[in-house]
Symmetry: D2
Subunit: 352 residues, 4 copies
């Protein structure tokens, strides 16, 4: 059950709700939004008499029963679409947004060159890993803070906001100092202490789906972040683990309409990890936008054969530039536009 | 290794190839195509001396080493796109084709009403099950031959070619008498005797991917059909089995660019089984075409709540009709057209 | 709902039940057992008034509501353990039974040599494939009827009953002429026409679980066989398909206590396909019996490196003989005995 | 490549190895063991000339090429079995060890009562969660440090060493103050910063396999811990995520012989999470030990119906006590003994 307070509700009115809930023997969880306080009531089953008692309290706007295990992120709770602001970029509205960049920041030349190229092709944000989770301890694990500084330099030059992964609660402050959008990787999708740490940060969060995480569990992971008061959560489908071995993961585009149905949060798609093969990435970029995704995050590397990580799934800047006009055409076909690419009438021929 | 004979090669020339291969201790497999005989050489490793010996024989056009386990269906063997003709409908060319209809044929009124509705909305073929594989022996298993007759009646009235499932080698002749396109269901994807039986039929085959079948194994299943001389195989991705329970299956759209890369066969997508939820079907129809699918097969039922099977995943005729113009717009955005829907310039607004 | 008739119920009494059910608008399904007729009532929801009406009819012993989708194979329906008789071998009782032999029958010497060796080591039945389903059309597919004859010869010499796979409804009569236990392979677990065909045969059936078949669906597959009047169904867990690639399949030993809980049918385990690696087979043989399996089916080949199929997962006769005394000790530890191996007190040392 | 130094090798000799490797352009990773330094050489491909150069250096005992991606945990590197000491309990030797206790520590009475009961039945260690990762933020998340204190109290009273989960690198010091064995949960199996933090702790670590983690990746996760100098790693198979829904997870007992083949680390099994259903737990306890597991970790709760977490998979103390003599019999059948249970000759009857 969720108690939505009126915009100007006082601290006393909020406390009165908390006390009333406690009298019924249940607990509360505060979700202070930008404009109004939301109070989650935790417990099951919650009696109708409690709902009625709360509705009568001053300062209460609405009391909503939520049938799902996730509450604050459910569409039942908030029927509109959440829109996220990352500097001057808006995600979750009519414009489709593309984030691009290398898997790892390797050196200044590589990140600057990539940033310029993806911006020229229409990307709206720059991705790049400074702290990398790697399956083997003997693999390249990123440049650390030096990588963050190079990302900041690339932002300075190109104006592109930057997204980079944060691996641990201890790193949140450091990474948030540089990043505009904090990425939680697939392996940390259910690292609840980290989720709560970014929930307390004042930066938007990109939450990747874990490799074996069901959609309901993913939304519950997002609930951990939002329950800390950070409503700026962007979900990212990046493929799940199945028996198929031709692809690195199985990109579950079903997740796009499923999330749109269940939640008000925006969702983007990562076709690079979702396929693991660069030649499949353009097709899945188009498919993701057609399915209703609010954006994409794509690996682009100036020299994939020599990338320190994920070369096999990285597009060259040329391949990336080639697919963007087609992406704009697909966005237009589903009634949207592609941020960063002029929406002039496409004149594609079958040979494209 | 594959030996491609010249178009006019004689029986003697073919026999000479077979004999030469036998001298080297290997076996041959004949794949008589419409225009030329192809001789597969089975065994591994095959020596270079054999390749050279065969290239010198009269009537031999080309000898090709195929690195994949599947040979005749591989793009290495045939680099162009196979195009399949089902009556007046062409699949695998520039036009995207939509097959629609109920899961099961239930009665005359239901199938005729559906056939008219899907045709009006732009469908190019009619689907409907007469022999249904059901998980429980206590569920409705189809009308059998009576269902086939009703499909034929619907074809007569609407002109739509019909596709229906064949469950067993014994049924192939019966089903082929009525159907224009023989469907092999997911549960029979590796029923090799059935595959060979439809391989000997003179009708095109729609081969659904099995629930736990890897892409390579699926292509090997197609190889069983083509190796019998039937090159008219249409692949159909319909979702694989994973840990996700919100959806009935996980639609693996990665399979579309993967199959296009590996094989020359056309591929269509079934978003009804691939999601199991009707409200997700339109989004995944658009995504499949954006990914490069040559067509779709979609369940449409005039009254899904009372369907004898698969009601939860069936579109109403109204919902089906509503998505078709959007599908045409997506097809156009990727440089194709949608068969059955006028390709006038779409003027979609964001509110669509 | 299931109506159990009294042992001597007449045809008229049975017909009266069928008629009464029809008056309520539902259908019946006859399951003629060795001693008594069982009548399944199909439909949902079935009213209490129907149950009461049937209980009053003469010749009716009991009317049972079955909450599961599978009825005749459920433990709710029959709370004891079904015991299956294959010639002189009893499966499902206190004795654990081992079936062993090569994946494929290759030639007379191979099958006779293997049969003698596995019998000497304590095997109770001989396995061997004559009709083999193979992923690729270019692989060895078995000797066909010649293989069946060689199996019969091995039986004649050793006295071991034989189990072999039947691939198609058309082959049931032929295979049943030779085999003592008809095997349905994993790929045909949901080939319902084949299940019904073996359901009409008068031979016990070994039903392997499909690679992506849930336990409930597997029991429904068994229901297809039993619903045809053949109650002699032996389930076989052989591994399911998962993301793990080190093993060929993931042997799901959970299935053993699950099936024992849900069904009265006996269950055996195939650790050869369940692991795909011969050096893991002995450990999983022991584990399966400890979990409560009624038997094992194990691949043994005199020369695994030269086997025409499945060499990597075949034990040598020596390895097979070495594990059997340990298996007897584990069987004894769980209160059972191992058929074919003397149950003398084991005196294993840690070095074993 | 791994360079094993002689037991008394000097700092200079070690530095000489590092320098020589650097001259070849590769990096080193030190693994200081209790008795000798091991130096991992990172890079690929490593030339034979490097191996020869290192073998000639003073203080070098052996240079070993390791073909696997994991090095220090591989059996290639150390062919014997690692034995782990947790207070007076030895894991990985001939004795099978059972760890038992509730999912969460709920209150003093609950943990003390359980500790006494499991000790009386033969358990060798006590488990109990103080910091719980929960899928939903609204579920009970453990008592925190208060829970650790209650565990310590239970240890004081019963003498049982305690194992409890650590969720974050920040908590390692706190948890290590109380726990004898630090548990890394399935969701943190690839939380590499946490793995490294426990790698620096001076306590043995129990590393659970992640829900979608392949055996190779699991061993690489263990490598993260060992590479920090902590060789006391105990692996724990607890079920993987598959399409099967009757069970909570699919317990992958194949992992037991696989890990024994690939690694020298001991492995235990968690049949509680591996099945999710208490009535299946005893069968899988027996199976795990028959497969070769070095121990078990089992959830036991005095009142499962009122447990704050995981009640459905918890044994009562009575059920736990009932299975222990059978477990001792199975251990004995495979040449081992069960720590805590007298190894008197079992006299089990079939009715057991």
């Amino acid at each position: 059950m969720i108690v939505v307070m009126q915009p100007g509700a006082t601290q006393e009115q909020i406390q009165a709700v908390i006390d009333r809930v406690a009298e019924f023997g249940f607990q509360t969880k505060l979700a202070p939004g930008a404009e109004r306080m939301v109070i989650g009531v935790v417990g099951s089953p919650l009696p109708d008499t409690l709902k009625e008692a709360l509705e009568r309290l001053p300062g209460v706007e609405e009391v909503i029963r939520v049938s799902k295990r996730y509450k604050l992120v459910s569409r039942e709770f908030y029927p509109l679409d959440t829109v996220i602001q990352v500097r001057d970029v808006t995600i979750g509205g009519n414009e489709v947004v593309v984030i691009a960049g290398p898997c790892s920041v390797e050196n200044e030349r590589q990140i600057l060159e990539t940033a310029r190229a993806v911006k020229a092709a229409g990307a709206s944000m720059l991705r790049g890993g400074a702290f990398k989770p790697r399956t083997s301890p003997y693999e390249f694990r990123g440049l650390g803070e030096q990588g963050l500084k190079l990302l900041a330099k690339a932002r300075e030059e190109t104006g592109l906001p930057i997204v980079t992964e944060v691996l641990s609660a201890q790193h949140v402050d450091l990474v948030a100092e540089y990043a505009d959008l904090l990425q939680i990787g697939a392996r940390n999708c259910q690292n609840y202490l980290l989720l709560e740490a970014v929930g307390r940060a004042k930066k938007p969060v990109l939450l990747k789906r874990g490799m074996a995480v069901q959609i309901e569990e993913w939304l519950l992971a997002a609930e951990y972040i939002v329950a800390q008061g950070n409503e700026q959560v962007l979900l990212c489908e990046r493929g799940i683990r199945t028996f198929e071995t031709f692809t690195r993961n199985t990109l579950d585009l079903n997740a796009v309409p499923a999330v749109k149905h269940l939640s008000h949060l925006p969702i983007i798609v990562d076709p690079s990890h979702g396929t693991g093969r660069w030649f499949m990435v353009p097709a899945m970029m188009l498919a993701a936008v057609a399915a209703g995704a609010d954006g994409l995050i794509v690996e682009v590397h100036p020299n994939p054969d020599h990338a320190l990580s994920d070369g096999a799934q990285s597009l060259t800047p040329e391949n990336f530039a080639a697919v963007m006009p087609k992406l704009a055409a697909v966005a237009r076909a589903v009634g949207r536009s592609l941020r960063g690419v002029a929406t002039a009438e496409p004149s594609l021929s079958p040979a494209d």
